[in-house]
């Protein structure tokens, strides 16, 4: 295994509140005060195992089923938000969001809530498994076939939309393919379409002639084209970069990318096993990785809401995330959300501020500004602590003290 991914041996000193909060924030959506105490008491390994658990309450899991008929995107957004905040399957919900950002599909064009739900369940089901299955699955996903016009890609009338994005955005990245690969791959995908809300392969629309894709010639179909893409050395590196950017640092080094790509291949494309290595690596806990990303709206709201035990309904949280620039199931383009500093500008910061003040006003009665500061900013910036303490001396000022922590710029670095 690559040296950069050497397992971290924190010892009793290293596994502190800051390290535990870092892991829970990055690999899940933060912690309730009880979860944080438990993580501190149980140590890194047990906490990591807990992140892999799947304990979403069945009533919540099933709550979207009777509502799909209502064709309401807002309810689907609320349902996902509820799962995230419930915290029953922290890492699984986290990777689902990572893959949603990578295979960014928007309801704006798909216009079918059941298809968006179907895709979301695909990302959740396969998200921690074999990446090859995930990619093969997303290429046949009806929402994707609508979104990137796969269903109108037919022999003699090619539509290159999906072929281009799978090469450029989903699996390889620019520089590893040329226009001819796009054209030929599009021919390989022809004939994949939808019938009603299901995937169909229509042989009569498939172009079964010989094609040359990424240097290989043959009568490839869609699955074959994806196999070629997956076999390209740039593919594992592309996935490794996506995982590093999502979980560790916004700009990973080539050494780190190559290292994680090696882990991914060594685990036979198993995302879960790869993350098990990554999330307990020295790299993951290195100072360079801490507080290194600007929080996306959904994670910002979920982390705050969980730390506060706030009683804000899931639909409201999903709406606030939308106002802050991250409407679930509605990424701005196939590139997903730009992320980083693009999350923040005047209009969005005000929406962020207002949403967090609203959370503070609805915080659990027992919650205090000092505790929130300790749990969400264990790094303890002194001026902020002093301001919180000063404020806490005023009568009935807890909501303001909590809001002060949540609207502090430091909190927005995850």
């Amino acid at each position: 295994m690559s040296a950069v991914l050497r397992a971290w041996r924190p010892g009793p000193e290293g596994w502190d509140r800051s390290a535990a909060a870092h892991l829970l924030r990055r690999a899940g959506f933060g912690a309730t005060p009880e979860e944080l105490e438990r993580a501190l008491a149980e140590g890194l390994d047990a906490t990591l195992e807990r992140l892999f658990e799947d304990r979403t309450p069945p009533e919540l899991d099933g709550s979207i089923q009777p509502l799909l008929a209502a064709e309401s995107l807002e309810l689907l957004q609320a349902w996902w938000m509820a799962r995230i905040v419930a915290g029953g399957a922290p890492l699984r919900e986290r990777v689902t969001l990572v893959w949603h950002d990578l295979f960014a599909t928007s309801h704006e064009k798909v216009q079918d809530v059941r298809l968006m739900h179907q895709q979301n369940e695909l990302l959740r089901r396969e998200g921690l498994g074999d990446f090859r299955r995930l990619l093969q699955g997303i290429a046949r996903d009806p929402a994707m076939l609508v979104w990137l016009d796969g269903r109108s890609n037919r022999r003699g009338h090619p539509n290159e939309n999906f072929a281009r994005e799978v090469l450029e955005l989903f699996a390889l990245g620019p520089g590893h393919y040329d226009e001819r690969d796009v054209r030929e791959a599009a021919r390989a995908f022809s004939g994949w379409g939808t019938e009603g809300r299901s995937f169909v392969h229509a042989p009569e629309h498939h172009d079964d002639g010989p094609k040359t894709i990424l240097g290989h010639t043959g009568c490839f179909d869609g699955a074959g084209a994806l196999d070629l893409i997956l076999a390209h050395p740039a593919c594992a590196r592309h996935v490794a970069r996506v995982l590093l950017e999502a979980f560790v640092v916004p700009a990973p080094t080539q050494v780190e990318i190559d290292g994680l790509a090696g882990t991914l291949l060594a685990s036979d494309w198993d995302v879960g096993r790869t993350l098990r290595v990554l999330l307990r690596s020295e790299l993951f806990f290195a100072p360079r990785a801490r507080r290194a990303r600007i929080a996306a709206p959904v994670e910002c709201l979920a982390v705050a809401s969980r730390a506060l035990g706030a009683r804000v309904p899931p639909r409201t949280l999903a709406r606030r995330a939308g106002a802050m620039g991250q409407a679930l199931f509605r990424p701005p383009s196939v590139k997903g959300w730009e992320g980083g500093r693009a999350w923040i500008h005047a209009g969005h910061w005000i929406a962020r501020h207002n949403a967090l003040v609203e959370l503070a006003e609805n915080a659990a009665v027992s919650c205090t500004g000092a505790e929130v500061l300790r749990d969400v900013l264990p790094e303890d910036p002194a001026p902020l602590r002093e301001a919180v303490e000063r404020l806490a001396r005023e009568p009935s000022s807890e909501p303001a003290a909590i809001a002060l922590v949540l609207t502090a710029p430091e909190f927005h670095l995850f």
Binding site: I344, H345, A346, G347, A360, P383, E386, A408, P409
Partner: protein, 390 residues
């Protein structure tokens, strides 16, 4: 103009650091253009150009419009050949002040008659492609890169128009005065002040977040101040007028937004057009006249240019339902363009219709270029030479 490093940093902190310093190192624009404001008002549905600016000397007009033609005697004369619709009377003071420019025959090659597609063309300014950003959004990107702030606002509810979509900047919607209000709790602002007074030696993203937060609070504060000044101006009671009043209050209240987008719907007049069209134009004229009077009263009129356009004009001939169907080119109104107002461009010749439509004589991108370069003081990005505004 050369700036010292120190001046740059100070300027950066003052206006809000939304982008890396390197991007803002370009020479600052002349103060004059940096304060200029563009208001775009879209007449959604496709305004009937021939009954807005009427070519009353052309016999063909009366032939093509047996029931909809407007009698010459009721028009407000624009020049010898053209008159404005009777319902546009409220614009008289704007014309007297030399602030109303009419540009004839604005459109684009191979006109598309679909509302959706033609709006996409006007918004994206890319008639052949499928643009994912709009001309105003792209300008807003560059303004933000230069001076930060909140360069564009959508003074409308509903979906953000493509015109305002940029690569980096997101134009917030401000359909009414309360939509950018800052939530607060007792003690929160003071707490923020005390936590923020200490220098944290922050760098990188933390410095960025601090600057962004500070600039946002300032913007919210300025908005509040701008609105608190109130407005004694007299506006008619229509949604459009209320939104224009909000724009006027922001502009005169020192708010730094440079681009405002509004819309007025209902111009898709396929049947019984006469009454509907007159009512729409009257709403438009009264709201614009009140807006202009308000700007003039606070001495801000020199800084504001208003562009009024639709996605297309209507067919030259009326249809069988006393209405008009989707057409091609139409006149565009500019309020406050330099050059003293009046008719500009080549008027349509109704004997030279193409496919039953008024062909375009001015490419809309020429107007955009002129606005981009000469009004907003930005580098020109469109492949069409600017329309001479002066």
């Amino acid at each position: 103009m050369t700036l010292t490093r120190r001046q740059l940093v100070v300027a950066g902190l003052r206006v809000g650091l939304f982008v890396p310093l390197a991007l803002r190192a370009r020479a600052a624009p002349a103060r004059e253009t940096a304060e200029r404001v563009l208001v775009v008002l879209q007449l959604t549905g496709g305004n009937d150009g021939l009954n807005t600016v009427v070519p009353h000397r052309q016999d063909a007009y009366y032939r093509l419009r047996p029931t909809l033609a407007l009698p010459r005697s009721k028009l407000h004369a624009l020049d010898d050949e053209h008159g404005l619709h009777p319902a546009l009377g409220a614009l008289q003071p704007v014309r007297d002040a030399g602030r109303l420019t009419v540009v004839h025959g604005v459109g684009y090659p191979e006109p598309d008659r679909s509302h959706f597609r033609s709006l996409e063309v006007w918004h994206g300014a890319d008639p052949r492609g499928t643009p994912h950003t709009g001309w105003l959004g792209r300008m807003a990107d560059r303004i933000a890169a230069r001076s930060g702030g909140m360069p564009a606002l959508c003074v409308d509810d509903g979906e953000l128009p493509l015109a305002l979509v940029g690569e980096r900047v997101f134009a917030p919607a401000l359909p009414d005065e309360s939509s950018l209000a800052l939530a607060t709790l007792p003690g929160l602002a003071a707490g923020r002040e005390s936590a923020g007074t200490v220098d944290h030696d922050a760098t990188g993203d933390l410095a960025f977040l601090r600057a962004a937060a500070r600039a946002s609070y300032e913007a919210a504060g300025r908005l509040e101040q701008a609105l608190a000044r109130g407005s004694s101006a007299d506006y008619p009671d229509s949604p459009l007028a209320r939104r224009l009043r909000l724009v006027a209050r922001l502009v005169t209240g020192g708010f730094d937004t440079r681009i405002f987008h509004l819309s007025l719907g209902g111009f898709d007049t396929h049947a019984h057009q006469a009454a509907a069209h007159a009512a729409l134009l009257e709403t438009l004229a009264r709201a614009l006249a009140a807006f202009e009077a308000d700007l003039a009263a606070s001495g801000a009129e020199e800084r504001v240019l208003t562009l009024v356009h639709g996605e297309f004009g209507r067919r030259a001939a009326e249809n069988g339902s006393r209405g008009t169907d989707h057409g091609a080119a139409a006149p565009v109104l500019l309020l406050g363009a330099p050059g003293g107002g009046g008719p500009r461009g080549t008027p349509p010749d109704l004997n030279g219709l193409v496919d039953g439509d008024v062909p375009f004589t001015t490419d809309f991108r020429a107007l955009y270029s002129a606005i981009e370069q000469d009004w907003m003081g930005l580098e020109r990005t469109l492949p069409v030479a600017p329309f001479p505004l002066r």
